[in-house]
Amino acid sequence: MKNQGTTNRPDNTAFDQQRLPAWQPVLSAGIVIPGFLLVGLAFIGIGVALFVTSRSIQVLENDYTGTGSSVHCSECVNPKTTPCTCQLNFSLSALFQGPVFLYYGLSNYFQNVRGYGSLRRPSSSCAPYQYDQNTTIAPCGSVANSMFNDTFTLYQLVNATRKTVPLDGKGIAWWTDYNIKFRNPPEVDGSLAAAFNGTVKPVNWPKPVYDLDPTNPANNGFLNQDFLVWMRTAALPDFWKLYRRITEGEYASGLPAGNYTLEIQYNYPVANFAGRKSVIFSNTSWMGGKNQFLGIAYLVTGSLCVVMSAVMLIVYAKFNSPDEDF
């Protein structure tokens, strides 16, 4: 039985009656045509700026695989010739604006395959490089084991004498990787080597982890910049990794015009997977290295918007539907 005292009358609120105040935009020509025009022009502007910025960036890339079309370092291709040092000569006709970054590039190299990084299941995250004859490998895993170990030294030829260009190895890895994410085991008796007692070096490495950088004791163990750079696995099979920065002394403002020699310790084998190695000099702008894509993308999208707004205008003028009276 209904209770006579109470009423079933629903509340007359905007929410209950679905009458909430609401903004009801309509995608009509009046908004879209000027909107597209504005967005298009803005994009074209940005695109031009990006394109020009990108064009101003200098890149010098040299393949030194030694096979195929590459002429450099062909003497080192034979794996028996180890250690092998080869030289790569180049000349700059104008100042290479600084700061200059030195990259090494690998192609056909799949750092992103599952099982390469620490992407296996937790129990065997380092297999097959967890143990070497039952002794723990430090650092373990395929990535560490396959660390890139070619080294580069840059000389400027001034009056037929080789003048070393100082290469700065600091700050090539992410700040957080170096300072927070990775930690060395606590030093035993002030010695990093003792901290790694009971572990062995990765199979492919020539020297143990605490001895990676003999020149700088603070750049050893897991906290080695080159190691950290290598450990940040690349997303795509062709990648560059930062090797050094040229920021010191007279080269801080860039590499002046002249002849240079890059001396390469050729250690890293790429032949068996048809990979290629290269070395790259590049400078950057605020937007990073040379990147044509962004400028082109903005230009294309921008002009598309402008063209479409023109097309829409024509369509509207021609096919003005009778129901619209704006």
Binding site: P10, Q18, L20, W23, Q24, S118, A235, F273, G288, N291
Partner: protein, 1159 residues
């Protein structure tokens, strides 16, 4: 001994024997029967079985099961993602559902406990003992006091009245609010105290429990002085659980059915298992996506092996295989690779789709109940939602099949005309006036005269004997009850001796009867009630007592009812009234022909007709009749058949007295509603049990048939061949004359003939008719028509509306069943999916709510599939760049949270609040309903459109980011490089923004909540990512994501890339929308434009003012809108008189008085 302990199989016999007060016989081999206890259990779960039972029920769902399988696969084999990624969303979905179901069950438990623990009084060893409801056993004598509900099904033993009668109302069972008299057999009626009852030696034999509320067959055997007296028991002796005692101080009854065996419990409805068209398309889409998933996984597996055939890819020096990988068998590896790909891509099946859809339906359905426009002030009833599964089906209706009485009409009967002995009379001012005398009477009826008309005419103008007999017959032949207001029920049921109490009110289960008894009262023959065995009437103040001998109740097969009375003169009389087809054939005297003519005339005017007849019995005849009736009534087997036989024997050789014509007023705005439905492209069929003439005239008056329509008839067909011929003829006529609209009238018999042989032809004829009217339909025939429509080749969506028990089968059969809360009880409402108070509310329910729900859910479903394609396709594309090694592109946490956190709320809020067009516009332009008919927003074409767009967007995300990164150069000013997680996070960021903005583009109704969740979701993604990447999480074994997001966003190029990729994803979509809107606008879009034309549309009221000037430029308006400036004085009228669609404005339909007063 064993048998006595109850080890025998429980009650296999057709009857159960109940010993009153459990006085079992002392002798013989008595076998105690076992009965259920009086506990009502409506809950589904107990504390113990909740977890297993609920899990089992949930995993019976195919989608949940699928995710369980994926989860198990992840646990078993080496898969690219951790089991958490699919386990957590699954857990979330299962938990949300379990909480909802657990809560509902807890409510049921609470209600059960309350009911089962209610205090009741039971007679135990001669005294009243208070106990709990659940401990009542079969055989217990229960005392029930006034206004209490009965705790079990009781056979009435005695009441505080000597006669052993009591009044009850069964409103909570069937909604009938009239008082019903139930009575005890005389032998037990004298036992009015507990001690007397203790001495009662009696036994009840009755049938086993069954659900039919109106059927009870049993007998009571009382032992008095070593003599066994047997009395029949029928429904009038049974007090049903749930009914309430009225007007009676207390009763005693013996429990015969308890707990779950009571008729009320047996009538618990299992929820309707109807599935909406949207759900069906959803399942189709799921299967298509499953196909895509399998295809992608197979392709990836094959490519993986094709690629790895070359050893330089398979095992380069830098990535040696583990021993385990080398040694496992090739086939096992292949299978596990396939499964791994399956797991990698499994998110393409949207896991949270079901839970979101369920939440949307559950929450969204509240809007129907809350709608003021669906609230009926007079009856204090608001719309009621019995199932939320079918909300969107309301927007898809193609056929409305409606009952007539109580649905189109008020079911409020008003006596208009009658025919007595071949003379037609009309009621004018409470006076019967023969036809032709109308004019002079109207002339002399002054207000003063009218006031006293009853007395004046009563004394001045004596009625002829025929008239008097007719009026007496009408006032005696019924089952009307009388209730006196302010009756305290303490033995003073009939307080005033003169009987003309102003508080007297008639209660009848049939509104026709009530109207007739009230009419005779106005004319001077007043029924004043039943006292003891006598029916009393006052003929112009003179009291006459008729002894009520038997009532031959109404049933749908006989279509008549009778009373057997002994007149004061001692003559035994039978009065019968019923449908003319069930009385006229049995009439042997009276002016049959004329009456027949008059009945047809009444029907033409749309009146409901009843024919009244009588028969006189000699005392020998009566004895025969009495004996037959008694035999039939006490029979335990085939009682119904034997009763029908006995009734047929009695109701014949009748003397025709006359006929009555009762008007059933049309409900408000029925015509407008039907017209609106027609404009919306919905075909309306009326299915009624009424006569053809009545039905046609109502059809015409409510606008279902138009005067201009060509009415085709398929009636009174006798044979299959005749029917087929007629059908062919009709089909030809329709073909020849297709300019004019056609209406079709079919009657029940012809329908069953047509359905037997010529179903196809019949459907063809029906479909080319604008309106179809089926009359003389039995309830099951109504359901059959619905099924016929449902199963016809086009498979249209049907909606059935009805208010009575005879509409239940049709309501259950149709895709959507609507119950009208009318005067014919609650059965239709209880069995319906939605219940509304008036037929006119149907327009708003379908045109507004249906439309909104449909577009909401359709977009919801499409969007879900879209966003999951966007989500997983980049993952698939990435495999081409990582040697198909199953490397994931996104981090596990992002994989897990994408569907449940980052993209879930905007679509949920959208699907609750979206309105493409404002409700009042929808209602004033029914044609907008056509835009969404035939499930158009979920057609294969639109689905493919969305899916392709999903793929397209995914390509944009992936290759946009790829092109940005593949030049290998640094994206940061400090020359440092990004890794693979940065790449994945960039794709993911672009995706979250695009997918959210895509929904923003679809949103047309931006409430503050939409703004909040849309921008909030994007903001949440950024905040979460900062947080997630900002901490070295101790429980994660890899810290892949540490600082990735911060480093990513510290690059200016990345910001530019995000902007350009997002924009270029959305631009084609906007262009497409704009072009379609301009070149091929749907009427929905056109009405949006008219709405939008006026800048800010009117929001808070239907009453809007005209905007004088429109000098704002478009940009200016856009600016204003974006700034959210909203000025009530600028609100403009949302549709103008220059409305291009329909010249007539039908917005009046449900403008409530409140809103009207504003205008």
């Amino acid at each position: 001994m064993r048998e006595q302990l109850g080890f025998d199989p429980p009650h296999q016999s057709d009857t159960r024997t109940v010993y009153i007060a459990n006085h079992f016989p002392q002798h013989g081999h008595y076998v105690p029967q076992r009965f259920a206890d009086n506990r009502i259990i409506s809950s589904k779960y107990t504390v113990w079985n909740f977890v297993p039972k609920n899990l089992f029920e949930q995993f019976r769902r195919i989608a949940n099961f699928y995710f369980l399988i994926i989860f198990l696969v992840q646990l078993m084999i080496d898969t690219p993602t951790s089991p958490v990624t699919s386990g957590l969303p699954l857990f979330f979905v299962i938990t949300v559902t379990a909480i909802k179901q657990g809560y509902e069950d807890w409510l049921r438990h609470k209600a059960d406990n309350e009911v089962n623990g209610a205090p009741v009084f039971v007679v135990r060893s001669g005294s009243l003992v208070q106990t709990r409801s659940k401990s009542i056993r079969v055989g217990d004598i229960v005392r029930v006091a006034k206004d209490e509900t009965f705790p079990a099904d009781l056979v009435l033993l005695s009441s505080d009245r000597i006669s052993g009668t009591c009044h009850i109302t069964t409103a909570s069972l069937d909604g009938e609010t009239n008082l019903k008299t139930h009575c005890a057999v005389p032998e037990t009626a004298v036992c009015q105290t507990a001690s007397k009852l203790e001495g009662l030696q009696a036994m009840v034999e009755c049938q086993q429990p069954e659900a039919d509320l109106y059927r009870f067959v049993g007998r009571l055997t009382v032992k008095q002085n070593e003599e066994e007296i047997v009395r029949p028991l029928g429904p009038e002796n049974l007090l049903l659980r749930g009914a309430r005692l009225k007007n009676t101080r207390e009763i005693f009854g013996v429990a015969v059915y308890t707990g779950m065996e009571t008729k009320m419990a047996l009538n618990y409805k299992s929820k309707s298992q109807k599935r909406s068209a949207v759900e069906k398309s959803m399942n189709t889409f799921l299967i298509i996506y499953l196909g895509i998933l399998l295809l992608e996984a197979t392709l990836s597996t094959i490519l993986k092996y094709a690629w790895q055939a070359n050893s330089q890819w398979d095992e380069p020096f830098y990535n040696r295989k583990t021993e385990q990988e080398k040694n496992s068998s090739q086939i096992l590896k292949f299978i596990s690779d396939f499964l791994a790909f399956l797991v990698l891509y499994n998110f393409i099946i949207p896991i949270s789709l079901y839970v979101t859809v369920e939440m949307q339906k559950f929450l969204g359905s509240f809007f129907i109940g809350w709608d003021l426009d669906l609230y009926h002030e007079e009856s204090n009833e608001k719309a009621q939602v019995n199932t939320s599964d079918l909300n969107e089906e309301l927007g898809q209706v193609e056929y409305v099949l409606t009952d007539k009485t109580g649905t189109l009409t008020e079911n409020e009967m008003q006596f208009r005309e009658c025919s007595i002995n071949g003379i037609k009379y009309q009621e004018i001012n409470g006076r019967l006036v023969p036809e032709g005398m109308t004019d002079d009477l109207l002339g002399e009826s002054s207000p003063h005269l009218q006031l006293h008309s009853q007395q004046v005419f009563g004394t001045l103008l004596r009625l002829s004997s025929e008239e008097e007999l007719f009026l007496k017959a009408v006032s005696l032949c019924h089952t009307v009850q009388i209730s006196y207001d302010q009756t305290d029920g303490l033995g003073k049921s009939f307080p005033q001796a003169n009987g003309s109490s102003p508080h007297m009110e008639y209660y009848a289960s049939s509104p026709d009867e009530k109207a007739l008894v009230e009419a005779t009262k106005r004319m001077g023959v007043t029924f004043t009630g039943i006292k003891g065995e006598n029916m009393e009437i006052k003929t112009f103040g003179r009291l006459e007592k008729y002894k009520l001998l038997h009532v031959l109740e109404f049933d749908a097969n006989r279509r008549r009812m009778s009373v057997l009375l002994q007149a004061p003169s001692g003559v035994k009389l039978l009065f019968t009234k019923g449908a003319e087809s069930s009385i006229l054939p049995y009439a042997i005297s009276g002016s049959i022909e004329k009456t027949k003519l008059h009945v047809d005339e009444f029907a033409m005017k749309g009146l409901r007709t009843l024919v009244v007849a009588c028969r006189r019995f000699s005392s020998e005849e009566y004895e025969e009749v009495d004996r037959r009736l008694h035999e039939a009534r006490t029979a335990l087997q085939h009682r119904d058949e034997r009763l029908a036989e006995a009734f047929d024997f009695i109701e014949r050789d009748l003397e025709l007295l006359g006929a009555t014509g009762v008007e059933d007023k049309l409900q408000e705005k029925v015509q407008e509603t039907i017209e609106a439905l027609c404009l919306a492209g919905i075909k309306v069929w009326v299915l009624t049990g009424d006569k053809q003439e009545t039905a046609v005239s109502v059809s015409l008056s409510c606008g279902h048939f138009h005067r201009t329509m060509n009415i085709l008839e398929l009636v009174q067909q006798k044979s299959d061949s005749e029917c087929t011929d007629q059908l062919r003829k009709l089909a030809r006529r329709i073909r020849e004359d297709h300019v004019i609209q056609h209406g079709l009238v079919v009657d029940g018999v012809s329908l069953s003939l047509a359905l037997r042989g010529q179903e196809k032809l019949f459907m063809e004829v029906c479909k080319s008719c604008t309106a179809v009217l089926c009359c003389r339909m039995a309830p099951l025939q109504k359901a059959k028509v619905v099924r016929l429509l449902k199963t016809s080749p086009e498979k249209p969506i049907t909606l059935a509306v009805g208010d009575g028990a005879n509409d239940v089968s049709m309501i259950q059969e149709a895709h959507v069943g609507i119950g009208i809360m009318g005067k014919e009880g609650r059965q239709a409402v209880g069995n319906s999916d939605y219940a509304i108070a008036r037929f006119k509310f149907l327009a708003k329910l379908l045109l507004v709510h249906g439309h909104c729900y449909y577009i909401r859910i359709a977009t919801l479903v499409q969007y879900f599939f879209y966003k999951n394609v966007c989500f997983i396709t980049p993952q698939f594309l990435y495999q081409f760049f990582c040697l198909f090694s199953q490397q994931t592109l996104y981090d596990s946490v992002y994989l897990t949270l994408y569907n449940i956190c980052f993209t879930s709320l905007p679509i949920l809020v959208y699907s609750l609040f979206e309105q493409l067009v404002q409700p009042h516009v929808l209602q004033s332009k029914p044609a907008l309903y056509r835009d969404i008919s035939k499930n158009s927003l979920l057609s294969m074409k639109t689905f493919l459109c969305w899916t392709l767009m999903g793929f397209g967007h995914a390509f944009f995300f992936f290759f946009g980011c790829y092109l940005l990164m593949h030049e290998d150069t640094s994206l940061m000013g400090n020359g440092q490089m990004f890794g693979n997680w940065t790449f994945g996070t960039l794709v993911f960021t672009v995706m979250v923004i695009t997918v959210t903005l895509k929904l923003a583009l679809e949103t047309h109704f931006w409430t503050w909540m939409n703004h909040f969740v849309t921008w909030g979701s994007i903001a949440f993604y950024f905040i979460f990512s900062f947080f997630y990447g900002g901490i070295l999480w101790p429980f994660l074994h890899t810290q892949d994501m540490y600082c990735v997001f911060v480093e990513l966003l510290s690059s200016g190029s990345v910001w530019f890339a995000i902007i350009v990729i997002v924009i270029s994803c959305l631009v084609p979509d906007i262009i497409k929308k704009v072009f379609y809107r301009h070149l091929w606008p749907t009427s929905t879009q056109m009405s949006q434009l008219i709405e939008g034309d006026s800048g800010v549309s009117c929001v808070d009221s239907m009453c809007c003012f005209s905007e004088g000037e429109r000098q704002h430029s478009w940009v200016g308006q856009a600016m204003e809108r974006t700034l959210g400036r909203w000025d009530p004085t600028r609100i403009s009228r949302s549709w103008r008189t220059s409305d291009p669609f329909y010249p007539s404005d039908r917005s009046i339909l449900t403008l409530s008085s409140m809103e009207a007063s504003h205008c």
